[in-house]
């Protein structure tokens, strides 16, 4: 039985009145790639942020194998958020070095690891460039290098291939599999089933803040009695998907009222359309 690296026990996350995640129980084992699959607003990013210790659970616990809360052990993690979060006025290497220093890793160790992975990702020549002009693929690869440079035990990737061209997406997926082969653990959020099936050892389907299924692709097919993962996914998520929950509490009451005051009513028929508006 592989070692449990990260566990979520009865985790609930509320944003104001909205329950974004409902009693999540999940264990992440050493050496596996776990795919978090769900539609937009399902709760994947919220779950990843809980695992990264950015969010605190409303109820339940997120802890590492040693029983310590994850927010105290972030040096164990390497995170690539959906937005990549690169500083455009720094070079790729400076971005990587900054995060490594924050992890307490020396520049020489960080450089050695960066150089190794940069070869795989064909990024070595770009390390000295400012990230301002980087394509989406280069940004994603740099963020991946940054997450790997300090030698994390667990890698959290939020939609790592979103917006990437085919070649870049293949390179990223290949690197993820290589990391797993070298004993690393990866949590891989995506809304593409085919990608999850291609990359992940285990797929966790999240819908409306709940885990609807958790298992290998074969186990999901047999438990749902379907012939492919798409059918399995549809059968597990028949209820209508909700909108993104974090958006709900973004605007204050006064701001919301003021905005509505200057927003014309949307017409319900052609007759109501005001051409002069």
């Amino acid at each position: 039985m592989p070692e449990t690296l990260l566990s979520l026990r009865g985790v609930t996350k509320n944003f104001a009145e909205v329950e974004a995640l409902k009693r999540i129980d999940l264990e992440i084992h050493s050496g596996e790639i776990v795919g978090l699959v769900g539609s937009n607003g399902a709760g994947k990013t919220t779950l990843l942020r809980l695992m990264a210790g950015v969010y605190t659970p409303s109820n339940g616990r997120v802890e590492l194998s040693n029983g310590r809360p994850v927010e105290e052990m972030r040096q164990e993690l390497g995170v690539v958020p959906e937005s990549t979060g690169l500083y455009s006025r720094l070079t790729a290497w400076e971005n990587i070095r900054y995060h490594s220093r924050m992890h307490g890793v020396s520049d020489s160790v960080s450089w050695a690891r960066t150089e190794k992975f940069a070869e795989h990702l064909d990024m070595k020549d770009n390390l000295s460039r400012h990230t301002k002009g980087f394509s989406r693929g280069m940004r994603q690869k740099t963020a991946l290098l940054r997450a790997l440079a300090h030698g994390p035990n667990i890698l959290l990737l939020d939609e790592p291939t979103a917006g990437l061209d085919i070649t870049s997406a293949r390179t990223v997926r290949a690197l993820v599999r290589q990391l797993r082969d070298e004993g690393g653990t990866v949590i891989y959020s995506t809304h593409q089933l085919a990608e999850a099936q291609q990359v992940c050892d285990r797929i966790v389907i999240i819908h409306n803040g709940e885990i609807r299924a958790d298992g290998s692709p074969g186990e999901l097919l047999s438990s749902t009695g379907t012939e492919n993962l798409e059918e399995a996914y549809v059968s597990l998520t028949l209820d209508q998907a909700r909108p993104r929950q974090e958006e709900a509490d973004k605007e204050g009451a006064l701001s919301s009222w003021w905005r509505r005051l200057f927003t014309p009513r949307t017409p319900v028929s052609t007759r109501e359309v005001n051409e002069d508006e």
Binding site: V54, L77, P81, Y87
Partner: protein
């Protein structure tokens, strides 16, 4: 604070300063503008004023003189100051100041000014019609007034002499004996402190706040908007370390700006005025130490407050529209503080936020260390700085700062 914590704070601060300095617009805003603002204002502005004044002096202006019996020596004086004259009879008006039928020609500029001059036995009455919104007309009036004043002075002297009196004894019976400057027992250092206390606190307060706006927004709402904050929050640093790192960076950038601006200001004053106008204030070690403490406490409060407000904002635009008008919270107290009389000042003034530090700086620049005042402003400033830092830490601990509009 642990060694790791200090290392992370340094790493954050260093990265923020480096990233900020790589934008050339920032260098212009933080270094070039503060350094050159006062020299340009104090040196170029007088040059511009002088050139405009010279242009006005060179103008040949037209005046109409309405008089039945105009003194010849006065006319010579008037033509000597580049005024072309034409004579007319006095109109029938109730008083010389009433424009009557001459209103329109003064308004439409056909004459730059109109002098009415009437003799009554041994005295004269006069009035000048002019258009105060016209520079030519104002200049013509000024030249006429100056000439009339000189002529009057000469008439007075002639009459005194004709009466057998001494002109100087009659006109100036009370005189200052010796050098006026010698009567001031304040030392040059104290005088310098007095002069500096009138503007250094004001510059310090306004520039500290305004130059911290841009970096505060860039390092908080800017990060949030660009989506870089989430990656940062996933790192093994606490929110307090993050706040402290960013505070150090903003305070460094702001400090450089404020120091450069004060250097520029002192240079401009030194260039503009003679060296005796302003010198170095003579300050005790206690005064210098307390000045540094007051600036530090003020910086802690202002920068923490700005970081907190900016971190509350979802976007750069939102943060800008909150922080820019909030300058009033500094500007009004700073202006009020300039007119508060320091002699016999009540202690409560030293407990009012912003006002307390500015008054303290004024006192200290005049080398006045009054224990009661120092105690009040130190305690109240520590409280306000702590409240601002606490408020900032609350904002940095909010979960929703991870969400980005982008």
């Amino acid at each position: 604070m642990s060694e790791g914590s200090g290392r992370r704070i340094r790493a954050i601060a260093k990265k923020e300063v480096v990233e900020f300095a790589r934008d050339w617009r920032t260098i212009i805003a933080i270094i070039v503008i503060p350094l050159l603002m006062f020299p340009l204002l104090f040196i170029l502005f007088p040059v511009l004023l002088e050139s405009e004044a010279a242009e006005l002096d060179a103008l040949e202006l037209n005046v109409v003189i309405q008089s039945e019996d105009f003194p010849l020596n006065l006319l010579e004086n008037i033509t000597a100051v580049s005024l072309s004259t034409s004579f007319e009879a006095l109109p029938n008006v109730s008083s010389l100041s009433e424009p009557g039928n001459d209103l329109e020609r003064v308004r439409n500029g056909s004459t730059d000014a109109l002098l009415r001059f009437d003799s009554q036995n041994e005295t004269w009455s006069y009035a000048i019609l002019h258009l105060s919104t016209s520079e030519r007309s104002n200049e013509a009036r000024y030249r006429l007034l100056t000439t009339l004043s000189e002529w009057e002075d000469s008439e007075v002297r002639e009459r005194i002499t004709a009466s057998g009196l001494d002109v100087n004894e009659t006109l100036d019976p009370l005189r200052w004996d010796g050098d006026i400057a010698q009567g001031d027992v304040a030392t040059s250092g104290e005088q310098a402190g007095m002069v500096l206390s009138l503007f250094i606190p004001l510059v310090l307060a306004i520039w500290t706040y305004s130059s911290a706006i841009q970096p505060s927004i860039d390092m908080t709402a800017g990060e949030r908007e660009r989506g870089t904050l989430e990656a940062l929050l996933c790192l093994p640093c606490t929110r307090i370390e993050l706040l402290m790192g960013k505070w150090v960076a903003v305070a460094t950038i702001t400090g450089i700006g404020v120091v450069l601006q004060i250097c520029g200001l002192l240079f401009a004053i030194g260039y503009l005025a003679s060296s005796s106008f302003i010198g170095l204030p003579k300050l005790s070690i206690a005064s210098v130490g307390l000045i540094v403490l007051s600036i530090l406490l003020f910086a802690v409060m202002v920068v923490a407050f700005e970081l907190a407000l900016a971190m509350r904002s979802h976007s750069v635009k939102e943060a800008g529209s909150i922080l820019a008008p909030a300058l009033m919270l500094i500007l009004f107290p700073a202006l009020f503080t300039q007119v508060i009389n320091l002699d016999g000042i009540e202690g409560f003034w030293f407990a009012i936020p912003v006002v307390n530090i500015l008054l303290a700086l004024r006192e200290l620049l005049m080398n006045r260390v009054i224990t009661e005042h120092v105690l009040i402003w130190v305690v109240s400033s520590v409280v306000y700085a702590s409240l601002a830092a606490y408020y900032a830490s609350r904002q940095f601990s909010r979960e929703d700062i991870v969400t980005s509009l982008s």
